[in-house]
């Protein structure tokens, strides 16, 4: 006697051995069950309905090859950028945290520091989403120029903050070392995030066309 549940379990095992992931298996099983039900409704026996449904889905080996090709492989350049982003953000967090809690004692300074750290983390976490607001620049040279300009602007803002504003804020000036580190790290982190966003925007544009 044909047992549909048993047949589906065996089929799942075959696909799993062929290398198809759990989430994809669940989706394929849902499809298979829809198809089997439909065929049974049309008057086929469960055994024939099952045979028709797996034939329509395709061979496990072919399926697993197609599923593997659909999984996005991160480019080495993207991986490197992601690592640099993470490192720079971690640096900002350490230095920013140290500066906010050991060197700067005035509430205004702490608020400014915390805001800067939060902004950096937000940009780092949302690099991909950020991409939709960044223009897609196809040429690598032009993209580099845009990135340099962006990073330069961040350095400019950091200089203005350190040289002009920070001096006038109340609080002791001992925080020199973390402040210098912070001054270098924030634009670096934001710069890397910006590069990532530009790369992503450009690759989205290539995909779309």
């Amino acid at each position: 006697m044909f047992d549909l549940e048993q047949a589906i379990t065996t089929w799942r095992k075959q696909l799993s051995t062929a290398g198809i992931k759990r989430a994809d298996l669940a989706e394929l099983e849902s499809h298979l069950r829809d198809h089997v039900l439909e065929e049974i409704r049309r008057g086929l026996t469960p055994e024939r309905a099952f045979a028709a449904a797996i034939a329509a889905l395709g061979q496990p080996k072919v399926l697993s090859r197609e599923f593997a090709s659909a999984t996005r492989v991160r480019q080495p350049r993207e991986l490197l950028l992601l690592t640099l982003c993470a490192l720079a953000t971690a640096g900002v967090l350490c230095l920013g945290g140290a500066a906010a809690f050991f060197c700067y004692t005035s509430p205004v300074d702490r608020v400014v520091m915390t805001l800067a750290v939060l902004c950096t983390v937000a940009v780092a976490l949302m690099g991909r989403r950020f991409a939709r607001f960044v223009p897609a620049i196809p040429g690598l040279k032009k993209r580099l120029l845009a990135i340099l300009l962006g990073a330069g602007a961040f350095f400019g803002l950091a200089t203005i903050y350190c040289q002009l504003i920070a001096h006038h804020l109340p609080g002791p000036a001992e925080g020199f070392l973390p402040a210098v580190g912070y001054f270098c790290m924030v634009p670096t982190a934001l710069g890397f995030c910006l590069i990532l966003a530009f790369e992503h925007a450009a690759s989205r544009a290539t995909h779309a066309s």
């Binding site: 989706e27 849902s30 829809d34 395709g58 197609e66 599923f67 659909a70």
Partner: protein, 115 residues
């Protein structure tokens, strides 16, 4: 090799994305229903190998053209539903204008042959 009604696999592959996008424009749907709908609308002439649809859907999701969520079927089973995103709407517009162009060039050339 080809019968008159058989659509070659290159054309099937090229038309998959615009067809899925326009189908999802009517509202969210799931894999099996998408295949059935396309088959019915093409009078059985556009036949996808069922399993191949999912990698296509996943690629489109990766490009952020569509999004997916796990929901429940009428019988209470788990089922993955897909719906169109903003970028998908834009991509659909682009596809439609490209296919319209190809179609108009083809129609224009055919007409000239009979003048």
């Amino acid at each position: 090799m080809y019968s008159a009604s058989m659509i070659p696999k290159e054309l099937v592959a090229a038309s998959a994305e615009p067809l899925i996008l326009s189908l999802l424009e009517h509202g969210e749907s799931y894999g099996y229903a998408i295949i059935q709908e396309i088959r019915a609308r093409s009078a059985d002439q556009l036949q996808w190998t069922d399993g191949m649809l999912y990698p296509v859907l996943h690629r489109m999701e990766d490009k952020e053209l569509i999004s997916s969520r796990w929901g429940k079927s009428e019988t209470g089973r788990k089922r993955k539903y897909y719906c169109l995103k903003q970028d998908g709407k834009k991509a659909l517009k682009q596809h439609v204008s490209q296919w319209t162009l190809v179609n108009s060039v083809l129609t224009g050339l055919r007409k000239e042959q009979y003048v």
